[in-house]
Symmetry: C2
DNA sequence: CCAACCAATCTGGTTAACCAATTTTAATAC
DNA sequence: GTATTAAAATTGGTTAACCAGATTGGTTGG
């Protein structure tokens, strides 16, 4: 068989066609939750793609809870009905690289909540790691250095203090997209960094004094610039 | 070399140790953004693991934007400083399977927002797909059938109407965990399904009439039961 | 002395062969 | 006929070999 190296985009396209074919197979054969899919080898032959591609597509569907593979046994339709499955796969196929606006919008949403929860649940250990991140940030800014990393760590420390593992996970997931776009659009400037010191302090104090409402309010202030910027860029 | 099949948990443990070693390598060798990592073969030998394991660990770090691999060239440290990198890796290593409470908490947070945004941005097409999902849900409930799937589709339709691709993605990510836990804890009952019809209708009408505040409010009502249940189960 | 070029080498990506556990099948004993 | 058991086929998981593009170092022509 001919070998070829695929770009991320090409590979994604192949994955999507395989996912589509698996969906059609399930629908056409009326497979129900618990039923077994044909083996990976059989699917790769039927679809005319490599077994590796089939495995990758199956892993994606497993990630979203639609399939379930059992070693040395087979791949099974998860305990989720065909209707929900078709709806979810439709969304999965439509997934695209997120736009900056939606990333920022989501980040603000998440962080307003983590700030609030952190104020309710923060331990002394949480408080200390937030303090450390904040001090590192302040030191760098006052020294005229770039401090986006320390900024990020402060916000991650808040997420940890929220005690919500899912929100930490989601924050980590959207972080790369945020970072690359920050570079591309040059969102931060020096002035903002200086202002950021006080804003960070305000958030910290609110969380320290266990005032959820204030914490959320101060976080909102902190994101005001970003919010406006985000809603002014062209779509 | 001896072959062995690993469970998900064992594999995760290996991945974490490899990620740790990669982090230590970057720190010890003072690798900076843009610098090249040793080749996969070299790493696999140095760490005493298979090349496949190394690739998998690299892919994870790439997923979170910490590494960047270029075909036929090498794996590079992404344009993110060592400080942020160490902080993020620490969080990545700590990631665990999310608990039900954090999942529900996050879902409610996301959906209050998607409802609000949907009220602001919904197109007529969005409205129609929401209507379809709602009708399917109502029909099943009135027929005494289980309608969790249709319920899910209605909520996904709202997420789509929000016009925020990132939130759709996050919704899809947390959905599997929600579904499996719903089964495990038997959250839904028939009465709730009946009540759900009216609650869904209220949400739909609010979005239809482009009233963001009302949409959020009705969504909050819809989640009231779930919210209470979630905060009453033992941690 | 430098730039252009070429071949040897190294890289991540891909495939095919292999492994062990499972499942199915068939043969056998009762 | 039925239950039991063993062997053969099938499964997803894993590894080692291979591929083509990128890199590198040395060589050559100017």
């Amino acid at each position: 068989m001919k070998l070829e190296i695929l770009t991320k985009s090409e590979n994604r396209e192949i994955q999507n066609t395989i996912i589509t074919k698996i969906r059609d197979l399930i629908n056409f054969k009326n497979l129900e939750p618990g039923d077994k899919l044909p083996s990976e080898r059989m699917l790769s032959e039927k679809f005319g793609v490599s077994r590796g591609n089939v495995r990758e597509a199956i892993q994606t569907l497993e990630y979203y809870g639609i399939l379930k593979t059992i070693p040395q046994s087979g791949t099974f339709v998860a305990n989720i009905g065909v209707i929900a499955m078709n709806g979810m796969i439709e969304d999965i196929l439509r997934l695209v690289d997120p736009d900056f606006k939606s990333l920022v919008e989501t980040r603000i949403l998440l962080e307003l909540k983590t700030a609030r929860l952190a104020a309710l649940r923060r331990t002394n250990v949480d408080l200390q790691s937030m303090r450390n991140a904040l001090d590192a940030y302040t030191a760098k800014v006052l020294n005229g250095e770039d401090a986006v990393q320390e900024d990020l760590l402060f916000h991650l420390a808040i997420a940890e203090a929220s005690g919500n593992s899912t929100m930490i996970r989601l924050m980590l997931i959207i972080t790369p997209g945020i970072l690359t776009n920050f570079e591309k659009y040059h969102v931060c400037d020096v002035n903002q960094a200086f202002i950021g010191i006080q804003e960070h302090e305000d958030i910290y104090k609110a969380i320290e004094s266990k005032d959820p409402k204030l914490a959320k309010e101060k976080m909102k202030v902190h994101f005001k610039m970003l919010y406006q910027y985000c809603y002014n860029i062209k779509d």
